[in-house]
Symmetry: C2
Subunit: 248 residues, 2 copies
Amino acid sequence: MNVKATLFVKTDCRDCPIRHRAVCSRSTADELEILDRMKTYRTYEAGQTIIWAGDQVQFLGSVVSGVATLSQTMEDGRRQMVGMLLPSDFVGRPGRESAPFDVVAATEVTLCRFQKSAFERLMVQSPAISRRLLEMTLDELDSAREWMLLLGRKTAREKIASLLSIIARRDASLHLQPISGNVEFDLPLSREAMADYLGLTLETVSRQVSALKREGIIELQGKRHINIIDFATLLNETGDDTDGGIWT
Amino acid sequence: MNVKATLFVKTDCRDCPIRHRAVCSRSTADELEILDRMKTYRTYEAGQTIIWAGDQVQFLGSVVSGVATLSQTMEDGRRQMVGMLLPSDFVGRPGRESAPFDVVAATEVTLCRFQKSAFERLMVQSPAISRRLLEMTLDELDSAREWMLLLGRKTAREKIASLLSIIARRDASLHLQPISGNVEFDLPLSREAMADYLGLTLETVSRQVSALKREGIIELQGKRHINIIDFATLLNETGDDTDGGIWT
DNA sequence: CCGGGGATTTGATCTCGATCAAGGTGAAAA
DNA sequence: TTTTCACCTTGATCGAGATCAAATCCCCGG
């Protein structure tokens, strides 16, 4: 833990997000140097597709700012979001030719990117990177499986409450703030994107948000700014057990 | 590929499944030796819970025979299966204290187990193991995300057709047979387990299976033995694009 | 061969969320 | 300022799948 902190401070990669730094955290200074020199930034505007499912992708990287979505679409247009990428999340698959899902910028998004081939070469030299990526991928897998419970078994109201509490939590952890009582944040997703994430229609999302507002559990300022009156009360609506589980 | 095949033959671990062998496939003979000496077998009867969510688990391993399920349950009893473990699938998380989900034997299950601490020590020495586990975990993550599309957006009939085609495919690949035309296999899951996997009730599962039978797309022998009359016809009912996608 | 009990099927009815259809809102362009 | 357009809300109705309630099947022990 101390080692991690030390390396965290040592790295020059100051403008890169926490989790990307964490990827490098057990590497040597040399390796950090190499990663650092490889990196480039690119910004995508809201609504832009960053990666199409099936594309050959030449880079890996992580989200510096903004929110991107991972989703898939059936031929008839039904769409399901399968993940949300927030600052510090890793993007891309080492060792894979083509992307399995669409990556779309929900807000303006800046990525810190590495050339895929160079990163993969570095992975072979530095086993710590593979171990760290394994750890991160296991976390993502657990999150995906938690989401399967939501999609398969939760009611519309529970789905909305769960989504709001997750976004609130991730937003708070981004600003390194504790979470309790009153919580405020901007929704990075449109009603339609929320529907795609939750396996609902946008009308149902709108109705459930209105219901939570009517019942005084949340307040809205505009369409996108949410004020959770009391976080614990919202949690009661999620259907989850009280302790909060694995979502961060 | 040749290297893999060679090592495949070299290892003494003959009774262990394909994918577990794959974990070792890029390791040295020494490392294989160590893994081989560590391994023990254990058999669980159908219905038995192998791991409870939250348990401290002291082993890792892979499924040798039988089918196990990964699932989570809400306090009020709603249950969602989040994965199915077939022969060759890896069980357990290196580097994790406690299990995130229940693992239950759907049929009689035999596991090949390694002591977790010993395996983790081996992982540090042999970077290839981490890389291989990362690859496998990425596959699982993609599968989980495909399943999210099913849970969030597919109709009951599409869900049933998808499940049958996945089980048929995995069963065929287990016996190293190609899949096309007429396909026969035993369902390893009860109607209730199928419902838990698909986010449906057992009555809906039963009705949809009956409908597929009535329409001549499948035949039943007993409750559990399925005969898919023409695999391509069943695929048409899944809602997936024609090429089959990532499911193996 | 017979009875018991879990697993499955089938039927009747209900309900939550989808669908169809107008409106409202607010920020940016004209 | 007015227009416009994308986004969101609200209302009315519908229908797929849930729920409640019996049968029926079948495997197993006696």
